[in-house]
């Protein structure tokens, strides 16, 4: 059981190629981290997997538990078990957070099935408490006027409610103060387990102190160029990305 990304090539519709033959396999029960310089294609990878219409896949496949999801609409991919915590969560005026999450859960039920409102609010409050999100946020419009950190917590809340089988967290740590980071990391760790595979995109080894990854990948120029254990994050933190770029150049010229 895994999310397999095989030889993925993608570009902005009608524009330049951003992902150039990317290979990655995320097994259920494991946490993978991706690090990489700005503009290397990390967010693009997360959006292509989720089906964002700005991008087109020119080659390769993405298999969710063996099923190619690239032909599916973004909502069908999500219902198949995929979740993306956005680097920049979107504001939706006039739609309350509680109604939004409820609609997302309702979308997973069959025709004629109704979500039980009492159970729903019970679950929602429980998860909000874990993430120390005040109750007032149920009635507020989705992400509207939320601080950067509140938006990120709200992403983790949605993940907790939707219980995906594969989750991509795109810089969920950025914009968080130390206390919030601990809370969010605890929230993510609580969701860790054999039923979920996670891909954590981050620039900072700091996050990985709290969410210890099983594997760390480096993404440069639209490809995974290096894979190692959690110690790689420290190496990158200490040395930056240049040494990887140099190694790449050497192996290319060799």
């Amino acid at each position: 059981m895994s999310l397999v990304i095989h030889n993925l090539h993608a570009r902005v519709v009608g524009g330049q190629e951003i992902l150039r033959g990317l290979n990655l396999e995320i097994q259920k029960g494991r946490v993978h981290a991706i690090m990489g310089p700005n503009g290397s294609g990390k967010s693009t990878l997360s959006k292509v997997i989720s089906g964002h219409p700005d991008y087109e896949v020119t080659a390769g496949e993405v298999l969710l538990d063996g099923v190619n999801i690239l032909g599916l609409e973004p909502d069908a991919r999500a219902r198949a078990g995929l979740f993306l915590a956005f680097q920049y969560p979107v504001e939706i005026p006039g739609v309350s957070n509680a109604n939004f999450i409820r609609a997302a859960l309702q979308a997973r039920l069959g025709e004629g099935e109704e979500l039980d409102a009492v159970d729903y609010y019970g679950d929602l409050y429980k998860e909000m408490d874990k993430l120390e999100i005040p109750r007032a946020f149920t009635a507020r419009s989705v992400n509207e006027g939320f601080s950067g950190g509140e938006k990120k917590r709200n992403e983790v809340l949605q993940m907790a409610m939707l219980k995906p089988s594969y989750a991509i967290l795109d810089e969920t740590d950025s914009g968080l103060d130390i206390d919030a980071l601990k809370i969010v990391a605890a929230g993510v760790n609580a969701q860790r387990g054999p039923g979920i595979g996670m891909l954590v995109i981050t620039h900072y080894q700091r996050l990985l102190d709290y969410i210890t990854p099983d594997v760390v990948h480096v993404l440069v120029g639209g490809r995974i160029v290096h894979t190692a254990g959690p110690e790689l994050a420290y190496e990158l933190e200490a040395k930056g990305y240049d040494w990887i770029r140099e190694e790449l150049a050497e192996s290319a010229s060799a």
């Binding site: 219409p53 909502d75 979740f83 956005f86 979107v90 939706i92 739609v95 997302a104 939707l162």
Partner: protein, 429 residues
């Protein structure tokens, strides 16, 4: 002119005061002599005038008893209302109101009863202002034909917590109704009133209504009208809200029904520190046309008005919002805002915005703006990324767009009732 309208007008129940009978016959003559509106007239630019001819309609006949019972059963409206009146085809079919109201000196009764028992009071406020937004002919028709609706008088210092509501039902076909609402709130009083305009079936009918609010010094009035006539109904509605010194008014229209729906709304800030919010949320689909004309008239200094009109347009629907802010020479330090937002959900829909400003005073803060846009692609993707289908996402985003207007209403229970009416209206899209 269809004479039958006037013949029927005499059938208003009770004994009418002389001033009213005179006003009615003068209005009838005025209706006959005034020309039909023309598109050359500034107030009728872009309007579809074909829909407007009252010749096609006769005054509504009472409904059968079984129908009346059924309609009363369907007139729940907002839970815990302080009272509910139900009219069907301009005939009163049910009234319930708490006895506490009368004990506080509140008068709340059918307009016919008020004309009979409180003629002097009604005369002081009944349709006193000159039509300002173009509907002279239809206002004359209303006055000549009115026989149903409610009169509310809230004495000085009385606060009515729960909303008062009136249902106006329209049944049958080719029928015309002339619903009237007159609210007088004396100094330091407060009240919230809801009018529901609804149809049985979807035949072609006509409604020509007036709702006028008089908000006394330091009083507070919230008035909500839910226009949910059948999709074939021609609707004209005219509102004047007079706001006195230190008083505040909130006027909210939820516009859902009708084939052609014209609404005119004037807020006159007549007293230092008067405040008014003018709000409207409109769902337009198929060939529906919503023609909305507004005037924010600042007469006194330190007054405030804030208009937010939002339209969601599907199919071949059309909306017009023509709004004027007028700041009179004495009205220094006025704050006046006007925002029109159109959400276009179909390439065939047409939204027209015609803002206007006339500023004759000093130190005035005014802004007006109209925007027209489509569903935001990132909002859509965000929703889909949570598993919500594109269709549901469209509906939810549209709901949110209009709900921002409803969110301005502080009364939670009432707001939820309107939200569910909005949700129902959007089902199927």
């Amino acid at each position: 002119m269809s004479d039958s309208l006037l013949l029927e007008a005499a059938a208003i129940p009770g004994t009418l005061p002389e001033w009213f009978r005179n006003a009615q016959s003068q209005a009838a003559a005025r209706f006959d002599s005034l020309p039909m509106p023309s598109r050359r007239d500034e107030f009728w630019r872009f309007s579809n005038l074909k829909a407007l001819d009252p010749q096609d309609f006769t005054p509504a006949r009472p409904v059968a008893d079984e129908v009346a019972q059924e309609l009363v059963a369907q007139s729940a409206g907002v839970a815990a209302a302080a009272g509910t009146f139900v009219f069907a085809n301009d005939h009163l079919i049910s009234r319930t109101n708490s006895s506490a109201l009368a004990a506080q000196g509140v008068l709340w009764m059918p307009i016919s009863e008020a004309l009979e028992n409180h003629a002097g009071l009604v005369e002081k406020y009944f349709m006193r202002s000159e039509p300002a937004l173009g509907s002279s002919k239809h206002l004359a028709l209303h006055l000549a034909s009115v026989r149903a609706g409610t009169f509310l008088y809230v004495p000085k210092g009385v606060h009515i917590e729960a909303p008062l509501q009136t249902f106006h039902w329209l049944a049958g076909s080719g029928q015309a109704v002339f619903p009237h609402t007159l609210i007088v709130a004396e100094e330091c009083s407060s009240v919230t009133v809801v009018d529901w305009f609804k149809s049985t079936g979807d035949a072609r009918n006509m409604a020509c209504g007036v709702n006028d609010l008089h908000v006394g010094p330091n009083a507070k009035v919230h008035y909500i009208s839910v226009q949910d006539w059948s999709r074939q109904t021609v609707s004209l509605n005219s509102n004047v809200t007079e706001v006195a010194q230190g008083a505040s008014a909130l006027h909210l229209g939820l516009h859902l029904g009708g084939v052609f729906s014209r609404s005119e709304s004037v807020s006159r800030l007549n007293g230092a520190g008067a405040r008014c919010e003018m709000l409207a949320a409109t769902v337009a689909d198929h060939a529906q046309e919503f023609d909305q004309r507004t005037l924010q008239e600042h007469v006194s200094p330190d007054t405030y008005s804030d208009l937010l009109y939002k339209n969601a347009l599907y199919d071949q629907s059309k909306t017009i919002v023509s709004g004027l802010i007028r700041v009179e020479p004495e009205a220094h330090r006025t704050d006046a805002y006007q925002k029109v937002r159109n959400l276009i959900l179909s390439p065939d829909a047409e939204a027209n915005s015609l803002p206007g400003l006339e500023i004759l005073a000093d130190q005035v803060k005014c802004s007006h703006g109209a925007t027209t846009g489509e569903i935001d692609a990132e909002e859509l993707f965000y929703m889909q990324a949570r598993g919500i289908s594109a269709r549901d996402a469209y509906r939810l985003i549209t709901y949110g767009f209009l709900n921002e207007v409803l969110e301005r209403l502080p009364e939670a229970t009432l707001r939820e009732t309107l939200q569910s009416a909005l949700r129902n209206r959007l089902q199927g899209h």
